[in-house]
């Protein structure tokens, strides 16, 4: 997962926002609306990033349907070190 995470977060067009989104979720689970506010990007953009991160097994939604909260997966937590390294490289 490390290499995929590196490409997904640093080499793609939306990579920076995806990295910031993970940082937000590291503090506490949030829903798409709260993430859009915190990152100051459109709701649709956040939805797109959440779907991408869910496809890659980085985030998972909680159980309740309305205002669905997103959590970081255990799989991601195993690669937390790689993520922290990526964040250290942000200028």
């Amino acid at each position: 997962m490390d290499k995929a995470l590196w490409y997904l977060l640093t080499a793609t067009r939306g990579g920076e926002n995806r990295a910031r989104l993970i940082r937000e979720l590291s503090e506490r689970p949030r829903n798409a609306n709260q993430l859009a506010d915190a990152l100051d990007v459109r709701y649709k953009t956040v939805r797109h990033h959440l779907d991408m991160l869910e496809d890659h097994g980085v985030v998972e939604p909680g159980d309740n349907e309305y205002g669905k909260l997103y959590f970081l997966t255990d799989q991601f937590e195993q690669h937390r070190e790689a993520f922290e390294e990526i964040m250290e490289h942000i200028e």
């Binding site: 640093t10 991408m52 490289h89 200028e91």
Partner: protein
Amino acid sequence: MSTIQLASGIAVVNILLLGLLTTVWVRNYRKFRTSLLLGLVAFGSVMLAENVVAIYFFFSMKMLYSGDPTVQQAVLVLRGLQLVAIAFLTWVTMK
């Protein structure tokens, strides 16, 4: 349209896609100073140069290419395959 004109047309599309990719990687390098991005920028630049050189050859060595339709087709297939490869990379990078 001749085979070589088609091949140079594909090289132009390759250049546009590579320009897009390299722009994303350079922009991201300003944010994330990682060797992964330096490598990608180098990769994109060399591929850009390769396509510019290809176009130069299509026009400057027309005589050489025009002598043999098989060579022309081979050139077209190679350009086409490279377009497919770059298109996939562009797709995953822009998503």
